[in-house]
Symmetry: C2
Subunit: 466 residues, 2 copies
């Protein structure tokens, strides 16, 4: 006798008439008047549960089988047969039911088989992967992450793990968490009355990283094609559906590259990972299209088949000013675009993803490469219909004199950037990269509204349970 | 004219007589008396550099080409021809040399072409990937990480990102870093004089995780086959070649599994990733065998072709006591094994990897499954020749009553384990998993002695630069 996963049975990988054992959790039990029970068992291997038809003749039928409730764990041995029921390919004619674990007080089982709100499920982050929706989200999340690694690997990129703990607070991308082992009831002080971080674990004030970009640039400037895929942090008091205190970022960095090179890379990567989801997870995507967002599948297909439209920021401002639409935030050259503007451009004006390029210098980071016009930098945002910005990137300023001038103009501490300046001192090369917030990608693909529901254990202000 | 990477040229993927441009950094320049220069260019795509033969006829020959030094960045256009030199397959007959970036003061360039100590290279973590050794390490590191993801994906495991920030200090695997946004010069206090963490960012005291295991168990107990691959942290003041404050861990967790099931999984995984390195990175591995450890290749081959030997802890103690060898730490049933014991068993007694199982309960963690004998738990260590322990794992105690008793016996705070106990309350299943320290794996495979040299930016006590 051998073991089989639910997906193997449902996809016909087990020959009909063969006896196998499937192990998982009971989703539902239904007893017929004819004296048989139908037990649906899921094991996470695919969206659907497999149905086991259990005859009353089994020795533990009345004292165990008929007491099974949602969430009980079982091993059911049976013969694979074509299913009589609708929508199912194969089922099991059970010959044995073994119960591993019961549900203590089924009436209060938190994952009872009814509709739960997403807020409720979040309170049971350790049990919610047993539900249809969280199971589906996590399979799609896995497919996206595997596809990202595969895409970069096939294209010659090396995964580089940039540090999580950093003593540099100059990344400039947001508020940071402090990492320390100092005794908070007895904080050591210097003569001047400041905190004496020389006594802290790292001998300096240390933080959680907000981006791996500056670090990974040093690897691009030696190994040419690299990417990060790791956690990053923001200590911002933002309680929105689009913010997490801890989230995963993908940051490719490419040497000898222009902004257009990484714009193409972003387009290729998005199409690659969307294709992977459509091909590998049609079951979960069908569920999202039915229950969460009717365009979940069609909008991915549309993107895969589209050509991303390149547009200059300056042209976009003209379009927005002349479109006759009333925006909450007025538009003028020099302002940062809001979600309403981004979505108008992608959804109404173009109807396809847009790569918006060459933003005003003054609203962008110090490291972005200055264009000839003296006003703009080689930065881009990828705007997708239905979400707005999904990727942000830029060419990096590789000219030391111009970089230094920018650091000075922005009153940044020059001495903090010595390693970064070394990359421009020793064999500098044009290079560019982008950042993709992984949870925003998962939310977009699944249609799930709140990114707290697409990461296993979300962290947000006043919330870091489990 | 098209671009080619160094590996494409050296592996013959570019037809002879085709003109291509290669972009990278100068490793060496040698001028012949005949008036030509030989420039070796590397771009990180493989171990070797490609040689470009540059004739004096080029217009920038005397004012640029002859001034090139190690570390300068160039684009060299030329015709691909079979190499006349030894050990090289193809080279470029240059028709154009473009210089992107010079090296400011070549005499003080930190990565000058000579032997540097590993300690010296660590001080230039942003430039060391330009060296042969760090480049090779990082390519092998990438291959290992890609192979790990591929292995689990092909076997139906889902990647689960467990949280980095945790409010639980009950993981018990080591000292933890605090994560906070409290003002250290004005720490809020409760009436009792304790730190008032309710005013901290998460409303509770928060830490960096030491392991994703407890969290990922909840995913195994719903999706059956899962694994983590992410950073973990230890705030231990250990300045050794085997410790990092921040390192990456791989933690698979398998439902409906026994200790022997995950022992087999560990064996399969190690063989899979070692095979991948031998097949995909023969160039880098040849370098390690030549320069770092002469057994770097042969010991991986031996493991791939070996059968891991299963051995009980109790039997191992008898073997160690009777072997006649004098150990620094004496052996008695009940003690934890030291590296000297582990290496004797794997290297001298067996000559192959050992899976050592069923350790005394009292030296192991609370969550390990108790065996029938009442004295041991279903824990394992995988011991490899040349390194000792490389993997540690266990079956998890899935019986709530026994788990509770163990938590009480060890005086652990029961209330902190509610989510973990829920997994045993609701459809509990036998499950097991293991942990692999990723940097120890990279160090073992490459033969590099200090794990600070196999992670891009190492973090250790008093050290978190860049």
């Amino acid at each position: 006798m051998s073991y089989a996963s639910v997906v193997d049975i449902l996809e016909g990988k087990i020959p009909v008439d063969e006896t196998v054992t499937v192990r998982g959790w009971v989703r539902t039990r239904r007893d017929s008047k004819a004296g048989i029970s139908f037990i649906n068992v899921h094991d996470g291997s695919c969206f659907e549960a497999v149905q086991a038809v259990v005859p009353a003749e089994l020795p533990n039928y009345s004292n165990e089988v008929q007491k099974l409730t949602t969430g009980c764990s079982v091993a059911i041995t049976g013969v694979v047969v074509p299913s009589q029921g609708q929508g199912q390919s194969f089922e099991l004619q059970a010959t044995k039911v073994h119960v591993y674990g019961w549900v203590e007080d089924p009436d209060t089982y938190p994952m009872a088989p009814k509709r739960h709100s997403m807020e409720y499920l979040r309170e049971y982050a350790h049990l919610r992967p047993r539900t249809n929706i969280t199971g589906a989200v996590m399979r799609v999340r896995n497919t996206l992450s595997q596809a990202i690694h595969r895409f970069f690997h096939e294209n010659g990129y090396l995964w580089v793990s940039t540090p999580i703990i950093t003593t540099s607070d100059c990344e400039g991308a947001g508020e940071m968490f402090r990492v320390s082992t100092l005794d908070l009831l007895n904080v050591p002080k210097t003569d001047k009355g400041d905190v004496d971080f020389s006594q802290d674990f790292f001998g300096k004030e240390a933080f959680l990283t907000v981006s791996g970009q500056l670090n990974v640039e040093s690897y691009a400037c030696s190994l040419s094609k690299v990417y990060t895929f790791g956690p990053t942090f923001r200590a911002e008091n933002s309680n929105t559906s689009r913010h997490l205190s801890e989230f995963w970022m993908v940051e490719p960095e490419l040497a000898f590259a222009s902004l257009d090179d990484v714009a193409d890379l972003a387009e290729d990567m998005l199409k690659y990972v969307f294709k992977a989801v459509l091909q590998e997870r049609p079951d979960d995507m069908e569920f999202f299209a039915k229950r969460i967002n009717s365009e979940a599948v069609s909008r991915l297909e549309a993107i895969v088949n589209s050509n991303f439209v390149h547009m200059d920021y300056t042209d976009a401002i003209e379009i927005l000013k002349g479109c006759g639409k009333k925006f909450e935030y007025p538009v003028e050259w020099g302002v940062d675009l809001q979600s309403e503007h981004e979505r108008y451009l992608a959804e109404e004006h173009v109807g396809a993803p847009i790569i918006l390029k060459n933003y005003p210098r003054d609203i962008k980071a110090f490291y972005m490469r200055q264009n000839e016009d003296g006003k703009t930098v080689a930065a881009m945002d990828v705007l997708a219909p239905g979400i707005g910005e999904i990727i942000g990137g830029s060419a990096r300023e590789e000219r030391l004199d111009i970089l230094d001038k920018r650091i000075e103009e922005m009153n940044l501490p020059m001495e903090e950037y010595e390693f970064y300046r070394d990359l421009r001192r020793y064999g500098t090369v044009p290079h560019a990269g982008f950042g993709l917030g992984f949870e925003r990608l998962v939310a977009y693909v699944t249609g799930v509204q709140n990114i707290r529901d697409v990461i296993p254990f979300p962290r947000a202000p006043k919330s870091a349970e489990f």
